[in-house]
């Protein structure tokens, strides 16, 4: 039944593409294929893409799989190539299998690039990146020091000990603390696995074991609710600040209750905007500057020519004051 | 002589082309121990499976207290008062004696519609049964798995009695037992008959059979070939009946 549903959705997505193509044949067409449609994160990227399309005078096509199936995703990309869009961006599900599709796009003179999730060795035109590991790691420490001072004990609750991106972020936190704030005491990271339940238990235990603790960082998004709940239950709102890499929807109630002081992530709406802007640049045959000031974005996007990475800029910081502007 | 509890008339059983049993006539009376003897494949097992309701007979009929019966399942046979104690005892090793004796037919009282076990009463009934059978078990609360083979036979017999069995079929009850244990089980068998129960005993041990049984029926090649009162026969005659060397058997097999 699910596969049938998928076929129906794919069919309707295609007819949408055809209709749009017939409607405005004169405009450039930029497409984005997310990992999964129907979730708030990619909905936000779609909204940013639509805003950019309006500002820049291009057509934006948004189409993706109904579950995170790499084969379905590649088929959608191939269909878009066959239908004659001029630039396609993909949030790659399986980096190892996209190279043939890149070849096929190149053969037709279509620009294929990646956004949000990369396939570095695929021959893609550019990778539109949301944030660097270093940016995420240093931002959270800098923001924390602003709130709790340099002389503080800070706990770290991560998810799986095997998650390389989470470990990279923790590495940059420790580097930043050692380089800029010698008095800051980062406790050894604790690993909660994937459940909020375990994250809450560990956070509670961390507060019991370290009465002088000033903040707890939820590294994996799955640990955000657990950390916040533990701070609330322990009655430590105000004396312990929770933070982490948590989306505004996940963290909203904790930011408002005060269990969380702030969270750090990027804004997918801006990422969607940058994606369409990059697509237009590629179609127009323009190259990227080291720093690109774009009218529709808050901050300039930087370009690393060696790695072929167009970076959205420093990560976004969400607080109780701005959280309601976001929905992802 | 008392009226028979069960009468088998012309019972036959075929499995496809194979005739496992033919023309068996037999009467089983309350209070007597009837032993079935015969070589492997002589038809004893097939016959008791028909009595126990595990196989329907192909020919003939069974009468219980004069009325014809047809068993579709072992449950039907049990409802008619026939209990079978298999070689592999169907006891739950992890449960106590009383729990085993009453398993599936527990005594219960209803509290707010929920059935609760009447543990004390079950225990009392089992103690009484064990006493009647003169079976001594030092720790009645111990799991049956910790009991000896003979004690387990006693539990199985208790279970049969508790099901109000009027005919108890015992399939090789002493096969796996030590000498002392065997004596106890044979004594149990007699006491069972003493309570007015009909007992059908299957055994390969002729001296054991002669000691405990009232009547002996010999099966050979799917037929009943002889019937003797235990008091009127001896070891040698029984052996010759089983092997077919006895003149009566020869005469019978010639006519067939």
């Amino acid at each position: 039944m699910l596969s049938q549903l998928r076929k129906v959705l794919a069919a309707s997505a295609l007819s949408f593409v055809v209709a749009t193509a017939a409607h405005a044949a004169d405009k450039h067409k930029v497409a984005f294929v997310p990992q999964l449609i129907g979730i708030p994160y990619f909905n936000a990227m779609e909204a940013g893409g639509n805003r950019a399309a309006k500002d820049l005078g291009v057509d934006f096509v948004y189409s993706g799989p109904v579950d995170t199936n790499p084969v379905d995703q590649l088929q959608i990309v191939q269909n878009l190539i066959d239908q004659g869009v001029e630039a396609v961006s993909v949030s790659v599900l399986d980096a190892s299998s996209i190279a043939p599709v890149v070849e096929s796009a190149k053969a037709k003179g279509i620009k294929l690039f990646t956004s949000d999730s990369d396939a570095p060795d695929s021959g893609r035109a550019v990778y539109v990146a949301q944030a660097t590991d270093e940016g995420l790691g240093t931002t959270i420490i800098d923001e924390l020091v602003k709130r709790v001072g340099e002389d503080a004990t800070i706990g770290i609750v991560s998810g799986e000990a095997t998650a390389s991106n989470l470990n990279a972020w923790i590495g940059f936190m420790q580097k930043e603390a050692a380089a800029k704030y010698p008095k800051l005491k980062l406790l050894a990271p604790q690993f909660a696995g994937g459940t909020a339940e375990r994250a809450a238990q560990i956070s509670g235990d961390l507060m019991a074991a370290n009465p002088d603790i000033k903040a707890i960082i939820a590294v994996a998004s799955s640990t955000c609710p657990g950390v916040a709940q533990a701070i609330e239950t322990a009655g430590k709102i105000g004396s312990v600040i929770g933070t982490g890499y948590c989306s505004p929807n996940t963290a909203r109630s904790y930011l408002k209750s005060g269990a969380f002081g702030f969270t750090v992530l990027w804004d997918p709406e801006q990422l969607g905007y940058l994606t369409v802007w990059a697509g237009k640049q590629l179609i127009d045959g323009k190259s990227f500057e080291a720093e690109n000031k774009i009218a529709g974005l808050d901050k300039p996007a930087t370009y690393d020519a060696a790695k072929g990475i167009l970076l959205l800029g420093p990560p976004a910081v969400f607080t109780k004051d701005n959280v309601d502007k976001f929905n992802f | 002589m008392t009226a028979p509890f069960l009468v088998a008339r012309n019972i036959g059983k075929r499995f496809g082309a194979l005739t496992a049993l033919a023309d068996v006539d037999l009467e089983i009376r309350p209070g007597e121990v009837l032993a079935l003897l015969g070589d492997n494949g002589a038809g004893k097992s097939t016959f008791i499976k028909i009595l126990a309701g595990a196989h329907p007979p192909s020919d003939g009929e069974l009468l219980i207290e004069g009325k014809a019966v047809a068993f579709a399942s072992p449950k039907d046979a049990a409802a008619s008062g026939i209990a079978t104690i298999f070689q592999e005892l169907a006891l739950s090793e992890n449960l106590s004696i009383a729990e085993n004796v009453f398993l599936g037919r527990e005594l219960k009282r209803s509290i707010f519609g929920i059935p609760f076990l009447k543990r004390a009463e079950m225990r009392q009934r089992v103690d009484g049964l064990l006493q009647e059978l003169d079976a001594h078990i030092s720790d009645p609360e111990a799991p049956v798995g910790s009991l000896s083979g003979g004690q387990r036979q006693a539990v199985a017999i208790c279970r049969a009695l508790n099901l109000n069995a009027r005919l108890v079929i015992m399939d090789e009850p002493t096969a796996a037992l030590a000498v002392a244990e065997t004596r106890k089980v044979l004594a149990l068998t007699r006491r069972l008959a003493g309570r007015g129960c009909a007992v059908v005993l299957i055994s390969h041990n002729i001296s054991e059979v002669l000691e405990v049984a009232d009547r002996i029926v010999v099966f050979r090649r799917g037929r009943k070939v002889a019937e003797r009162l235990a008091a009127e026969t001896n070891h040698e005659e029984v052996v010759s009946l089983i092997t077919g060397a006895h003149p009566d058997v020869r005469a019978l097999e010639k006519t067939n």
């Binding site: 604790q190 235990d205 | 398993l103 910790s146």
Partner: protein, 328 residues
């Protein structure tokens, strides 16, 4: 080891394993109290007990399943699905009383589904529930649509974090659940039938036990207990994440085995399960408080289980001998 008695004469009569576990719990508490000044506090004791609630409830059901010779590895995700139902009701500002009924109800329904597959479909429990684990997990993803339920109102918690006659509601619920399961197991025909099935399904059938009915009912009871666990989960964490319950089934099985219930069925200890859960939670909490990284905690649990079962196997000489023979 002396012959194992099934029918304890009272709710609180204890066997050897139960004593060992109690001693282990007390020993662990004593060691942690000496090693960390933050350990022996009232707050920490409450934390440990609080962290045990869900596992206690799921563990009681798992005890029945294992005693019956069954198992349910999908039970954690059943908790997740029940939690989604509760979360949706709370999220729509529904009555917390409705939410209170939803958990056990969804648990019972899913118990019926599991029983239909395993009992009516005659699939071995480990195979059937492994299959259902995949189905249920996908259902969790589909129902959550990639987005967690978070920031749920605290109305349910307000209801459950109270006391009745000075006793905290969670303690009361656990006590009542324990008493009901104990009575069912030790004082009703159902309990006898369950243990007989666990010993040998074939013999149970020969004894005239309604095997299918008893097995079906047991899966439903386990589902209901899990639904109650989900209620406490949502009340406390006010959050349902996609990975909810992913470790619960194995944690519960570990605690139940630790408590002296046979993985081969036929023998069980409810008190042992309770002590097993408490020991696991005491160790998890205490190890972190004395500074052992959380990464090492599963190792401690694993070693403990292998140690206990290994010791028993050696002391019994024959690993699978379940009943000591008394001298004839």
């Amino acid at each position: 080891m002396s012959a194992v008695r099934q029918s304890g004469s009272g709710v609180f009569s204890m066997n050897g394993r139960e004593w060992s576990l109690l001693v282990a719990c007390l020993l662990a508490i004593a060691i942690f109290s000496v090693a960390s000044p933050h350990y022996a506090t009232q707050g920490n004791a409450v934390t440990v007990l609080r962290n045990s609630i869900e596992l206690l409830l799921i563990g009681l059901g798992m005890t029945l399943l294992l005693a019956m010779g069954g198992v349910d590895v999908s039970i954690g995700i059943v908790m997740g699905l029940a939690a989604i139902a509760i979360g949706r009701i709370l999220g729509a500002d529904g009555s917390p009383f409705v939410a209170l009924v939803a958990g056990p109800l969804v648990g019972a329904l899913l118990g019926c589904v599991t029983a239909a597959v395993v009992v009516l479909g005659r699939v071995p429990a480990i195979v059937g529930t492994l299959g259902l684990l995949g189905v249920y997990r996908t259902a969790v993803f589909a129902l959550l649509g990639g987005q967690w339920l978070s920031g749920l109102p605290s109305s349910l918690n307000d209801l459950l974090a109270t006391t009745v006659l000075g006793i905290p509601v969670p303690a009361l619920v656990i006590a009542v659940a324990y008493l009901i399961v104990w009575l069912a197991l030790r004082r009703t025909p159902y309990g006898l039938h369950l243990l007989a099935i666990g010993n040998s399904e074939e013999k149970a059938r020969l004894s005239g036990i309604p095997v299918i009915k008893v097995r079906f009912l047991t899966f439903v009871i386990s589902g209901v207990l899990t639904g109650i666990a989900a209620t406490f989960y949502v009340a406390t964490y006010r959050n349902v994440e996609t990975s909810i319950g992913s470790t619960s089934a194995l944690d519960a099985i570990a605690a139940v085995i630790l408590g002296g219930t046979s993985i081969l069925g036929g023998r069980c200890s409810l008190l042992g399960t309770v002590l097993g859960v408490l020991l696991l939670r005491i160790l998890q909490n205490g190890l972190l408080l004395i500074g052992v990284p959380s990464l090492w905690q599963p190792v401690v649990t694993g070693v403990l289980i292998i140690g206990v079962l290994g010791f028993e196997a050696v002391s019994n000489r024959l690993p699978l001998t379940r009943f000591q023979r008394a001298p004839a």
